[in-house]
């Protein structure tokens, strides 16, 4: 019964295969390395979509497998973006400042560069000093550590408090909404040190890569996003296919029963919740350099609800379902709200897709719930089984 995880999970080679083909296809059609059929901006859209798929994968772990409907996971996603964003902005601004100051007769001291950089970054909120939370922004390694640690610690502390008090179901969902809303409101303030509603911008400029064009950087980030998604997929499959997976699915279906078997349910929930928070943080750190800007609006409560909708449409409890759902819905969303879909003129009324997209999404959600209760991923299962029969 103990076979390799690939033999037990045919979805892994298929998933990796599809991802590799996609990466090759996009590369061959990219502006930097191929025919140029795919524009730089669309390459970024695809790369960002992969990051959203990664977040959906984390959401499926926590909701689809462990039964914790978190409606606050985009907080972790956004924090990952802020973590890497601080370094990107600092290093980039420093380069610019240094170049400007070099024009003078006397070379600038480090303190002058630092002061000028801070003034440049924070003038928009009327400040000139480095806030304490930027302490690590000078170091890439420390910033990468922040990307993992900040969402991880937030998830750990929040989860510990919530699970220990046995808050479950809709009450937990409401608490997670409150968490992301509180964080978003906090970041909206100008004096928190993260530039208020301006957020962190210019993140697409990677320090040290000034001479490399966005065409190549976009493909690199696309590759990195694909690699992260592939790795996370294999890791997640490994996690849920062993005894650990049996236990967390047991917690989802009947947590009291799992307790009476001697398992500390809270510890398992905390583990999965924190892990998925960290994955979301990494996804955010890959996403925002492609998006170019991260601001508090990104972690508004609605974003986390969308994440749950993607997973529901894709099919809970099947990891590829979450990925399919996130990819399908977020690409469609880009299509309809990004001005790509032509508006339909009905004479008396013009259908503008930007306004009608939420209606479409709602309809899609209802249809999936009614006709494919196991989601798009469940449809895949259905077709595969049918072929075999």
């Amino acid at each position: 019964m103990e076979r390799s995880i690939f033999a037990r999970n045919p979805s892994v080679p298929i998933f990796i295969g599809v991802l590799t083909l996609l990466a090759l296809g996009v590369t061959v059609m990219s502006e930097a390395y191929g025919t140029g059929a795919i524009s730089v901006s669309f390459t970024k859209v695809l790369g960002m979509t992969l990051c959203l798929c990664l977040a959906a994968l984390a959401m499926d772990l926590v909701w689809g497998y462990c039964g914790i409907l978190s409606l606050g996971h985009f907080a972790f996603f956004g924090l990952g973006g802020y973590g890497i964003g601080m370094w990107l902005m600092t290093a980039r601004t420093e380069d610019v400042v240094r170049a400007n100051l070099m024009g003078g007769v006397i070379p600038p001291t480090e303190a002058e560069v630092s002061d000028a950089t801070a003034a440049q970054i924070f003038s928009v909120v009327g400040a000139t000093d480095w806030p304490w939370m930027w302490a690590a922004s000078g170091s890439l390694v420390l910033s990468l550590l922040l990307v993992v640690l900040v969402p991880g610690v937030l998830a750990l502390v929040f989860g510990w408090l919530a699970f220990r008090s046995r808050v479950t179901g809709v009450y937990l969902s409401i608490l997670t909404q409150a968490m992301t809303l509180a964080l978003s409101l906090y970041l909206f303030q100008n004096d928190t040190g993260l530039r208020g509603n301006n957020g962190l911008s210019g993140l697409q400029n990677i320090p040290g890569l000034d001479t490399v064009g966005q065409d190549r950087i976009s493909i690199w980030f696309f590759w990195a996003s694909a690699a992260a998604l592939g790795l996370a997929y294999v890791g997640a499959v490994w996690l849920v296919s062993g005894k650990f997976g049996n236990i967390i699915r047991g917690i989802r279906d009947d947590e009291q029963r799992v307790r009476f078997l001697g398992y500390r349910v809270e510890a398992y929930k905390l583990f999965v919740f924190t892990l998925s928070g960290v994955i979301c943080g990494i996804a955010g750190a890959l996403y925002y350099p492609q998006a170019g800007i991260v601001n508090p609006d990104e972690i508004a409560p609605i974003a986390s609800i969308y994440l749950a909708v993607w997973v529901a449409i894709g099919g809970r409890g099947r990891l590829y379902g979450a990925v399919i759902g996130a990819a399908a819905v977020s690409l469609l969303s880009t299509y309809f709200t990004g001005g790509r879909a032509p508006d339909i003129d009905l004479g008396i009324y013009t259908i503008e897709w930007v306004d009608w997209w939420p209606v479409l999404l709602g309809l899609g959600f209802v249809l999936v719930t009614l006709f494919a209760p196991k989601g798009l991923g469940g449809l895949v299962d259905y077709i595969v089984r049918k072929d075999r029969a």
Binding site: K243, N246, I247, G250, D253, R257, G262, Y263
Partner: protein, 246 residues
């Protein structure tokens, strides 16, 4: 015979209703004990208290040779010290295969990290096969537990209890939904277990209790009404009154 579980003077109320009223109960190891009583006598609440699901308002629950209090422990910790429970309504993980259900129950380290790196050893495999043979589910190991019949789910839950290898087994209505043959098998299994474990069986079916040939504790309105052999308690005026009405 030493006492394994000592329950002293526990009481618990839910919204003013006294579910358990100054109840005391002692069981040794090995020993088999049947607990009977009309609906609402507090049988299930009693099990809830022993397993940590419900906290009593007063009284003490002591465990093992050292007399350690179970009241300070969580459900999971109580299960870890060796209290296993089979529920009245069979509760198995319906989404998962019979084999997986047994695997998660096997007595092994219970922490998340241990579970992540858990490998199925030859001993585990042999133990699962042995239990499956005992509960008559050898041919169903790969099937999801959800599609089993009610009786088979009962068996699976008994199997999960065996896999846990507890010292004290709390068994709530094990024979419900079983055929006559299955009942006999269950009786034989419980009797065999009682040679090396403490077994508490809650049951409505008097015939089943008679076949267990053990001491009987009669609960009524949250307290012990009578205790002794089945014939002894059935001859008790108060028991007759409770069971047959006045």
């Amino acid at each position: 015979m030493n006492s394994l579980l000592e329950v002293q003077g526990i009481s618990v109320s839910f919204d003013g209703f006294r579910a358990i009223n100054n109840l005391s109960f002692v069981i040794g190891c090995p020993e088999m004990r049947a607990v009977i009583g009309p609906n609402g006598a507090g049988k299930t609440t009693f099990m809830d208290i022993v397993t940590g699901k419900t906290r009593p308002d007063t009284g003490s629950v002591r465990w093992g040779e050292t007399g350690r209090s179970l009241l300070a422990l969580s459900e999971a910790e109580i299960a870890q010290v060796g209290v296993g429970r089979k529920f009245q309504r069979p509760t198995v993980f319906e989404d998962q295969s019979v084999w997986d259900n047994l695997r998660v129950s096997l007595k092994k380290p219970r922490g998340p990290i241990a579970a992540l790196f858990d490998r199925v050893t030859e001993a585990d495999r042999a133990r699962i096969d042995e239990i499956a043979a005992e509960i008559g589910l050898s041919d169903h190991l790969d099937r999801p537990a959800g599609i089993l019949s009610h009786g088979q789910k009962q068996w699976l839950e008994i199997g999960m209890l065996l896999a846990q290898d507890p010292r004290l087994l709390l068994v709530d209505e094990p024979a419900a939904g079983m055929t006559t043959e299955e009942r006999e098998h269950t009786t034989a299994l419980l009797k065999r277990l009682a040679q090396s474990h403490a077994v508490v069986v809650v049951e409505h079916d008097m015939e089943f209790v008679r076949r267990l040939e053990c001491r009987v504790t009669v609960l009524h309105e949250g307290s012990v009404l009578a205790e002794g052999s089945l014939d002894h308690v059935m001859a008790d005026e108060r028991v007759i009154e409770v069971y047959l009405g006045r």
